[in-house]
């Protein structure tokens, strides 16, 4: 059952990601990005990280992509005539780089199946593995400084975004 769910989740994630980068209409790309993010949330649930999965849906698919759609609507971006770059040399170099990167990362990801270890790692985690309590316990004890710094970072981002867009300070 988890194998089937993993297959569905990963196929939908990768397929809709491929559609995100190939759509002419940016609104379609944003909607396929939502689909991809939701299927990655499914993968998070399969991994046992329920809190991160909920955050993925709420923050990523529910706030960040909505912000993208706001920007698309504000700028009134139309469908473009050509999707990719016009210069053939540019496209060729990009495709070569992408293929090399794909081979490298897939090799690293899959080599451990053949060379390093054969033991299955999917032992059942403890019942409190991905829960809110477990994340909170770590976040507010061991990572407290990083948490506070992240809030300052968010403040800086808000101030920066407003300062850039305002016409008269």
């Amino acid at each position: 059952m988890t194998g089937l769910l993993f297959l569905i989740g990963s196929l939908v994630a990768v397929g809709s990601a491929a559609l995100v980068v190939s759509r002419k209409n940016p609104v379609h790309a944003a909607l396929f990005l939502i689909v991809s993010l939701l299927s990655v949330a499914l993968l998070f649930v399969l991994l046992g990280a329920q809190f991160i999965a909920a955050l993925q849906v709420i923050v990523y698919a529910g706030a960040i992509v909505v912000l993208f759609l706001f920007a698309v609507m504000l700028l009134n971006v139309k469908k473009e005539a050509a999707v990719f770059h016009s210069s053939l040399a540019h496209r060729l170099v990009a495709v070569v780089l992408v293929v090399v990167l794909l081979v490298q990362t897939l090799f690293i990801a899959l080599a451990s199946m053949v060379w390093v270890r054969k033991e299955a790692w999917m032992t059942q985690p403890s019942l409190s593995f991905g829960t809110v309590q477990a994340v909170g316990r770590e976040l507010f004890a061991r990572y407290l400084l990083q948490f506070e710094v992240a809030s300052v970072l968010l403040l800086a981002a808000i101030v920066g975004a407003i300062a850039m867009v305002k016409k008269r300070l």
Partner: protein, 101 residues
């Protein structure tokens, strides 16, 4: 065949490479930003996978922080896109060439 760590890492790798392809090949600035979000998402998947493999919560905490940073980056990035659009009247990244030689 049971689903192991490598399967999730392979999915993360493919998502990341698709994001890189989007950044390198697309001309629309907004779609480039969306591809960057795809790459961050792939990294999050890798972090949570390793958190499950090692049993600790650190990977999930880091994934939480990556999400926070992604939100901040999208806000600032879209502000930049708005300002560029005001000047250039276009979201084509080939038109943003004032600093080119």
């Amino acid at each position: 065949m049971p689903v192991t760590l490598s399967h999730y890492l392979a999915v993360s790798a493919m998502l990341f490479v698709i994001g890189v392809a989007g950044v390198l090949l697309r001309r629309n600035l907004l779609v480039v930003l969306m591809s960057i979000e795809l790459m961050l998402n792939a990294a999050n998947l890798a972090f949570v996978t390793f958190s499950r493999a090692m049993g600790g919560m650190d990977g999930q905490i880091i994934a939480l922080f990556v999400m926070t940073i992604a939100a901040a980056e999208v806000a600032v990035g879209l502000a930049i896109v708005l300002v560029v659009f005001r000047v250039r009247e276009s979201t084509n990244i080939d038109k943003i060439n004032l600093m080119k030689w």
